[in-house]
Amino acid sequence: MEDSAFIGGVIAGIVYLAAGIRLVRLSWRTQASPELMLGLAFILWALSYACWQIPIATANQPLTQPLFFAGRAFTNAGTIFLAYFVWVGFRNQSHWAKYLVHAITLGLLAGMIFSVAEGDWEGIQPTDNPWWYLDWGAGFMAMAWVGVEGLIEYPKARKRVQLGHCDPLVCHRLFLWAVVGIVWTVYNGVYLYQVVEFETTQIWSAGMDRAIAATEAIGIALVCLIFFPPRFYKRWVAGAAPAADSEEA
């Protein structure tokens, strides 16, 4: 695996851990479930990055399979919490959204459990193990849902901004959330291609590693802008938007 992918994974883990801890602390103060769900999703993803990166860094063969499996389990658990966040945050009164969350949860759990039963603990044998696609497909659906909800909510938020009913920064954050959902969806698509290629060639190709690192870097940059926006960026967004109450004001 290329250094760029390894470094990207380490940075991603640190950013998700920092964002996750902040969100869980926020949920203690607000007693609200959306921030708790998203915070737990990010912390679990940070743990999964650690599980993926430790064997790569140490070349520790006996630990590789258990840690890769743990990484897969943490990724799936985080994705389940992410889907719950989208449900409670965007569609808390919708029945179909509840069923979609349950379908994603079931798909991720069943895909992983039956993959293990087929002997594919790490989730890297898509051509031999059809259950891998259930696991991957459920995760892909969760990421796509993030993007779709952001794309639906952002134009509505722009209308609210014009009426002075939404902070321009909040509106912009919804836009970033839509883009991050699209980037995560693309990441999952690239990951599918990478894993299929690895199973065929038994080599993690440099091109796919770079594609993974690039989508990861864009996703991380967007997460930073959503959760740790620098002052100059907030000023720029508030200045570019129509007059309305702003966090920056």
Binding site: E35, P155, R160, L174
Partner: protein, 103 residues
């Protein structure tokens, strides 16, 4: 399912315009949606903005003559009535994404 607030405002709009129930609810729904809001999670503050800024235009399009006084009358009714607000304040996307950056 709309909030009791939406139902109340639609009923008052019906009274002050002579619209049928269907026309009043439809007109209010269009105005609420064009403000980027949801009838399911409408708050009093949001409804006030809709009635002040968007509803006069919607009523004019539907042939209502004194649109401003109709909207003022609905607003007055709104102020006098003890309507329970939707409890969605802490769980709509705006509020959630406002809180998220303040973690």
């Amino acid at each position: 399912m709309e909030t009791p607030l939406f139902d109340f405002a639609a009923q008052k709009l019906e009274q002050h315009t002579g619209f049928s129930q269907l026309e009043a609810r439809g007109t209010l729904r269009i105005a609420v949606k064009s403000a980027g809001l949801e009838p399911k999670s409408l708050t009093v503050a949001e409804l006030r903005v809709v009635l002040e800024k968007l509803m006069p235009g919607e009523l004019e399009q539907r042939g209502v003559k004194d649109t401003l006084s109709v909207c003022s009358a609905v607003l007055r009714d709104l102020e006098d009535a003890p309507i329970a607000e939707s409890d969605s304040d802490s769980s709509n996307p705006d509020d959630i994404f406002r809180r998220l950056a303040k973690a």
